[in-house]
């Protein structure tokens, strides 16, 4: 794949060099824009680089074209000229789409370097900071993030450089706008109102969402994502509406929200070996870090249990329930053994030694009820193997009361899988979820949007750092008395 990128880039640059003089920078740049819209990231990057070769510097303001001095004639209605930003952005997007880990790594590093070059030149644009933060997060470059954090703290409120937003996907424009808490706008006068300038409206997943108008007593079969037959590895992700993601800082830790709490449990050890999730403790730690760093959960509000017994789980639940205020947001993560017995779901403690003996297990509803009594909204995530027994499995119990969203890391009948990340075995679900947390960076994540993004990330198997495509498919959140865009 890297060869493809190299060949395409060299071919376009070499071929382009011969016609660069004849072809204006505007034509080449437009080719880059077209390629961006079609998500042909290698072509887009090459075109933007060619445009920069002809007209080197990014320009924040309008480009004035020849015309009568008594009138302003601007290129593309006053849009900024951003070939270097476009090339870096294309590298970042190409990295996320790449199946070759080395190529993806190379592209990510190029993107990070080029975004940072733009900032070094004084081109302090919100979008540049946003995507550089993404690149550093994907590279797990703590030093880079720290550098960026420091620069952001210096420049906050003075990031006035504008980039060509037409390069960026509409949902990302919305995210940037929401992160920075202001409308995203092009520079230059509103020379004409063009409906194509508006972000397309967000779309709901439609039939894959539990019908909020339905009788809550009606049992709904679990919703399972089905890959698109034409594009088996990639699914269309509904676009995010502008303003749908909560406010946050683009770099560094996301601003914490005081009434958000979490209980994160990872039970790697289990006497039920067939159902054990050996990477559960690692996943719990990663999930906890994601909540604290990227999702606005205050550190003291997140409790973590590793290899806990049933009794310890009950105590932790009670302890947390006593601390939360009325109407709090509670996120519950459990990685370990879960079973479905007599129409009820149970979470097994590390001391459970039989699938049918629930004495050393905690009923799932027993986890919810103390929080429900405080009027909390509960967002529950389960990384649990789900073999079918008698046609049933863990996750088949749906609460009829309370405001609860429950999401499973895999579909009924399947097992959770793992990947190797820098020598650690971690779950595919948590691996994808942590990346989504890092990319979305919000303390007000819509739960269904998060789920879709996680599904997509799992299908791409992440940033290509390791591994290939996975067959693990999540189950979308089942919502009880909760809208699909409820935020956690």
């Amino acid at each position: 794949m890297r060869k493809y990128w190299t060949i395409v880039t060299v071919a376009l640059l070499a071929g382009g060099a011969g016609v660069a003089r004849a072809q204006s920078w505007a034509d080449i740049y437009q080719q880059g824009l077209n390629a961006s819209k079609q998500q042909r990231w290698s072509d887009a990057r090459a075109h933007f680089q060619r445009a920069a070769a002809v007209r080197p510097d990014d320009v924040s303001g309008p480009t004035f074209l020849p015309g009568p001095v008594t009138e302003q004639r601007t290129w593309r209605r006053g849009a900024p000229y951003s070939p270097r930003f476009g090339a870096a952005y294309a590298a970042l997007k190409g990295a996320t789409m790449s199946q070759d880990p080395d190529e993806a790594d190379s592209l990510l590093r190029a993107a990070a370097r080029e975004f940072e070059d733009l900032i070094d030149k004084g081109q302090h644009a919100k979008a540049t900071y946003y995507f550089l933060g993404q690149a550093f997060s994907l590279l797990k470059d703590a030093d880079g993030n720290a550098r960026l954090d420091a620069r952001f703290a210096q420049m906050q409120g003075r990031m006035t450089w504008k980039v060509d937003l037409e390069i960026i996907a509409p949902e990302e424009r919305g995210q940037i706008a929401d992160v920075f808490g202001d409308p995203v706008e092009q520079s230059g006068p509103p020379l004409a109102h063009d409906p194509s300038d508006l972000a397309p409206p967000g779309t709901e997943p439609g039939p894959l969402v539990a019908d909020p108008g339905a009788d809550p007593g009606t049992w709904h079969p679990p919703l399972v994502m089905q890959p698109d037959a034409a594009r088996p590895n990639i699914l269309e992700v509904p676009r995010t509406t502008v303003g749908s993601v909560g406010a946050s800082r683009p770099v560094g830790r996301v601003a914490p929200v005081a009434n958000k709490f979490a209980l994160v449990i990872g039970n790697s050890s289990s006497l039920l070996e067939d159902l054990a999730v050996p990477f559960a403790t690692k996943d719990a730690q990663i999930f906890r870090d994601s909540l604290v760093h990227y999702t606005g959960y205050p550190d003291p509000n997140v409790d973590v249990l590793l290899d806990a017994t049933a009794e310890q789980i009950r105590e932790a639940v009670q302890n947390l329930a006593e601390r939360i205020p009325e109407g709090a947001t509670v996120t519950f993560f459990f990685a370990g053994v879960g079973v479905h017995v007599d129409e009820r779901d149970y979470l097994a403690g590390v001391d459970a030694d039989s699938e049918n003996d629930t004495s050393r297990m905690v009923p799932k509803m027993a986890v919810y009820q103390p929080f429900m009594s405080k009027g909390a909204r509960i967002f529950a995530f389960y990384e649990v193997n789900r073999p079918l027994m008698g046609g049933k499995t863990f996750g088949f119990e749906y609460p009829m009361v309370g405001m609860i969203a429950q999401m499973q890391a895999t579909k009924p009948g399947d097992r959770v899988q793992s990947v190797n990340r820098n020598g650690d075995e971690i779950g595919v679900f948590v691996d994808a979820a942590s990346r989504v947390f890092a990319e979305m960076r919000s303390n007000r994540l819509p739960v269904m949007e998060f789920a879709w993004q996680t599904f997509n990330a799992m299908k791409r198997s992440g940033a290509g750092l390791h591994g290939g495509s996975t067959t693990q498919v999540i189950t979308l959140p089942v919502l009880s008395n909760m809208a699909s865009d409820t935020r956690f």
Binding site: F64, L65, P66, G67, P68, V69, T70, G188, P189, A192
Partner: protein, 398 residues
């Protein structure tokens, strides 16, 4: 009989004019057709890009753009009037100006030859424009001649209107830094000079005229025709800076035997303009245009009535283009001065004096619309009402 005869030639009716002291503001050459630049003291005609470029500087047609454009201007045609008293040869006079009536002074149509190539493909323009205008009237009663006769109900009317039908072409080089153009101008010069009065004597010595001695009625009018050429160039080193230069050939008039002694040639005109645009106002929402232009008129054949040296007209101004919603509202102010030096030869006709004009104007140009509207005004040094011009530009959607 005591009254001087200005013109006395076979075939030309005699016209008696008491001149030398009769100075009127010169509009014959410096007549502003009433376009957008009028509100800026005429400072940007040679760098403009509209249908008036056919007459002012054909190079401007290159920047018409990819849309067919029409232009229309309606403006007042001002005049002056002199009230004469006491001596016929050296009268006291009182000069006043009047706004005059409205008339169409420009209709233009311009279209690109190759919409895809834009300015490098060139554009053609055709227009009807009024390039010169003068209206002067003199009235007097009870004037006494040097020989003691009395002039009653004296009236002289001197009226000129020069209209040009111009076909022009302009184009740009590939980078848009140089425009050039050429046009052919067919001029219709309407000239009318008429005079009438009654000359009486006092036969009974009571100091009152009681016997008609002479009744003078004379009129010369014709529409002379001529062809001229106008060429021009614009240099645009940057999108916000422009130099324009144009030249119009002298135009000899034909078919004007009865008025050739009055006016027989439209002078050569050389124009130079410099304009600059500041794009950084109100965070880029507004922009400001400064422009200055010099027009030099020369090689005019001096007639017996119209006597004038070479003339220089200097004008300049600025236009602030305010963004209001989705529209541009240009606001203009300018100043123009012309140093017409009259040939103040007694009995040799009308002479002209310098003319200083303060101009201003405004417009409305919707950004999403096909049209633009401009209103421009100019004060005269004589006093009286403002000159007014209203223009409309329309771009056809392609």
């Amino acid at each position: 009989m005591g009254a001087r005869k200005l013109i006395s030639a076979a075939g030309i009716a005699a016209v008696t004019v008491s001149a030398g002291w009769a100075q009127v503001p010169d509009l014959l050459n410096a007549f502003d057709v009433g376009g957008r630049a009028m509100g800026m003291g005429g400072g940007t005609y040679a760098v403009g890009a509209d249908t008036m470029s056919t007459v002012e500087n054909p190079a401007g047609l290159a920047f018409i753009g990819s849309s067919t454009t029409m232009g229309l201007v309606v403006r007042t045609l001002p005049g002056t009037s002199l009230d004469l008293s006491r001596s016929f040869s050296r009268p006291d006079s009182s000069l006043s100006a009047d706004q005059g009536h409205f008339s169409v002074t420009h209709i233009g149509y311009a279209f690109p030859l190759d919409r895809e190539r834009g300015s490098t493909g060139g554009a053609v323009g055709i227009s009807f424009s009024t390039i010169g205008y003068l209206r002067e009237e003199r009235n007097g009663d009870g004037l006494i001649t040097d020989s003691g006769t009395f002039i009653r109900t004296y009236n002289l009317l001197n009226r000129h209107r020069h209209d040009a039908i111009t076909l022009a072409y302009g184009r740009s080089n590939n980078s848009g830094t140089v425009n050039y153009g050429i046009g052919v101008m067919y001029v219709l010069a309407a000239v009318n000079l008429s005079e009438r009065y009654n000359e009486l004597i006092d036969t009974d010595g009571d100091g009152l005229p009681d016997q008609l001695l002479n009744r003078q009625i004379s009129s010369n009018s014709s529409v002379g025709r001529g062809v001229g050429v106008v060429v021009g160039a614009q240099f645009n080193p940057r999108p916000n800076v422009s130099f324009g230069i144009s030249a119009r050939s002298p135009i000899d008039l034909n078919g004007n035997a009865s008025t050739s002694q009055i006016y027989d040639r439209i002078p050569m005109k050389i124009s130079g303009s410099l304009a600059f645009r500041n794009d950084r106002l109100r965070n880029g929402r507004d922009y400001l245009v400064f422009g200055a232009q010099v027009d030099y008129f020369l090689d005019e054949k001096k007639g017996q009535v119209i006597q004038r040296d070479d003339q220089v007209v200097i004008g300049g101004g600025m236009e602030y283009n305010l963004l209001v919603g989705a529209s541009r509202v240009p606001i203009r102010v300018g100043f123009q001065t012309s140093n017409a030096r009259g040939a103040s030869v007694p009995g040799r006709g009308i002479s002209f004096r310098s003319r200083d004009t303060v101009t201003f104007g405004f417009g409305y140009h919707p950004l999403n619309g096909n049209y633009g509207f401009d209103a421009n005004f100019g004060s005269g040094t004589v006093g009286g009402a403002f000159d007014m011009a209203f223009g409309l530009t329309y771009r056809f959607s392609n």
